[in-house]
């Protein structure tokens, strides 16, 4: 019980700290310093951000649908945070050992469209609605092969249980036999988090911030931290599904798990720093015409080899 609460709060704190860490890493990648004024080397920046966001005017537009407007950020915050419950941190340290672990993740991932749609619609603002429509269309596109790319892993492990999946990688990490599954899951994960280059719903240049344009103060903060939570969740899932979870040599299981998760979170930031945002229809085209067939082929071949082995 205490461990569960600890994991939950650690995830939250990590997500909050990531907002500063991301800016520092972006600075590192772009040959500049990030925030380095508050405290020693910008260590207190997070405190400054908190003070700023807590004391901002929390304005609810009078033209909005108030109940849904308030409800959306909470849902956005919670929907992917709950997935941490099924991620095994080490062989005997998981909050709930669900037999349908992956299905639970896919369900929560599908639910995470709703807060975006609610936020965009209830804001009663054209830009917000356009952002929400984009987000929904994009997430639907990438949801299809988000599930399918994991099925190869499921076929190999012959279980939906996360611990079984990690145990099936004891000899060979899934990223090698399931390479295309890994690639497509990574891309779909990027799109799920609305991260660059899949930040269509938030594109500042065209939509001036997309679905959370009317949000301010802590409600915006919930969306903001929700994005970092989803990065942590997706990178921990990549670790679990494709990179052997807690397996590693020498050091403790928890260290390896956190190290791999941090590596993928770093990769998310690296991709943000390097790739431009493509045109909207190109993103849909890439999803439907390239990634989706790739996952299907990957699944067919995995199933074929599993049948041959059996």
């Amino acid at each position: 019980m205490i461990e569960s609460i600890l994991v939950l709060f650690l995830t939250l704190i990590c997500a909050t700290i990531m907002s500063v860490v991301e800016r520092r890493i972006l600075g590192l990648l772009q040959n500049r310093y990030g925030p380095n004024r508050v405290g020693w080397q910008g260590t207190l920046q997070i405190v400054a951000d908190m003070i700023k966001i807590l004391f901002k005017e929390d304005w609810i537009p009078m033209f909005s649908r108030k109940a849904i407007f308030v409800f959306a950020p909470m849902l956005s915050f919670v929907s992917l945070l709950l997935v941490i419950a099924i991620v095994p941190i080490s062989s005997n340290f998981v909050i709930i050992n669900l037999d349908i672990g992956i299905l639970f993740f896919l369900m929560m991932a599908s639910l995470s469209i709703y807060p975006v749609l609610f936020a965009g619609w209830s804001s009663n603002n054209k830009y917000a609605l356009l952002g929400a429509i984009r987000a929904t269309a994009q997430t639907l596109t990438y949801e299809v092969f988000l599930g399918l790319s994991l099925m190869g892993v499921v076929v190999r492990a012959q279980s939906f249980n996360m611990i079984d999946i990690v145990n099936s990688q004891i000899l060979l990490w899934n990223c090698i036999p399931q390479f295309f599954g890994f690639i497509t899951f990574f891309i779909a994960g990027l799109a799920l988090c609305h991260r660059h280059p899949f930040d269509q719903p938030e594109s500042e240049q065209e939509l001036s911030d997309g679905y959370h344009i009317e949000y301010s103060g802590m409600k915006f903060g919930l969306f903001f931290i929700g994005e970092y939570i989803s990065i942590i969740i997706v990178s921990s899932l990549i670790t679990t599904m494709f990179f052997g979870g807690w397996f590693g040599f020498g050091l403790s299981a928890i260290f390896w798990f956190i190290f791999k998760t941090m590596f993928f979170a770093f990769l998310f930031i690296l991709i943000r720093a390097s790739l431009p945002r493509p045109r909207y229809d190109k993103i849909m085209l890439f999803g439907w015409k390239f990634c989706f067939p790739l996952t299907l082929i990957n699944l067919i071949f995995t199933a074929f080899f599993m049948l041959c082995k059996a």
Partner: protein
């Protein structure tokens, strides 16, 4: 085929961005490290004095006339030694665009733009500089230039023709050779 090309180029750009971790940061840590400004940098506007410590400005109004934004205003007055000087001299730095035309127009090298850009104030009113804010004690960029020592203008203690490269003025009303 083109999609694979695109993927390869994207992976390459991710790699190139990653390489930047190992290169030097280009940020200038401004308040801690001062910025190098070239000697001819056009920053803050000053009024200078000549080597005797008298102010150079003769209130000819050329700087105010040439100023494209009209941020300079001044009023001429004449001292007891028959010398012109500005009664007040005012520059509104919230309008100044630091073009340097006033410096070009000034015949006495009084008004000069120096390499200093730290002009921020909390109140806009504080950006209006009066003569006592503008006037410095030194000669600025042109150390030995003194307008009255080069021009034929007459002031007390210096008649026309006193300078060594001048000849005395010809009195056209006398018949003596």
């Amino acid at each position: 085929m083109s999609i694979i090309k695109t993927l390869v180029s994207q992976i390459r750009s991710i790699w190139l961005t990653f390489i930047n971790i190992f290169s030097k940061r280009e940020t200038i840590m401004y308040p801690e490290k001062s910025v190098y400004l070239a000697p001819r940098y056009r920053g803050r506007v000053i009024l200078s004095r000549n080597l005797n410590g008298e102010e150079r400005c003769v209130a000819c109004n050329l700087c105010a006339a040439v100023c494209p934004v009209g941020c300079i205003s001044l009023k001429k007055s004449i001292s007891k030694t028959n010398r012109w000087y500005p009664k007040f001299f005012r520059i509104n730095f919230s309008r100044c665009i630091f073009c340097g035309l006033c410096e070009e127009a000034c015949p006495t090298a009084a008004i000069q733009l120096i390499p200093d850009f730290e002009l921020s104030e909390y109140k806009r009113q504080d950006l209006v500089y009066e003569k006592e804010d503008l006037l410095i004690s030194g000669p600025g960029k042109y150390s030995d230039y003194d307008f009255y020592q080069f021009s034929g203008v007459e002031i007390e203690g210096k008649k026309k023709g006193n300078l060594d490269y001048e000849s005395n003025p010809i009195d056209v009303k006398t018949l003596l050779p």
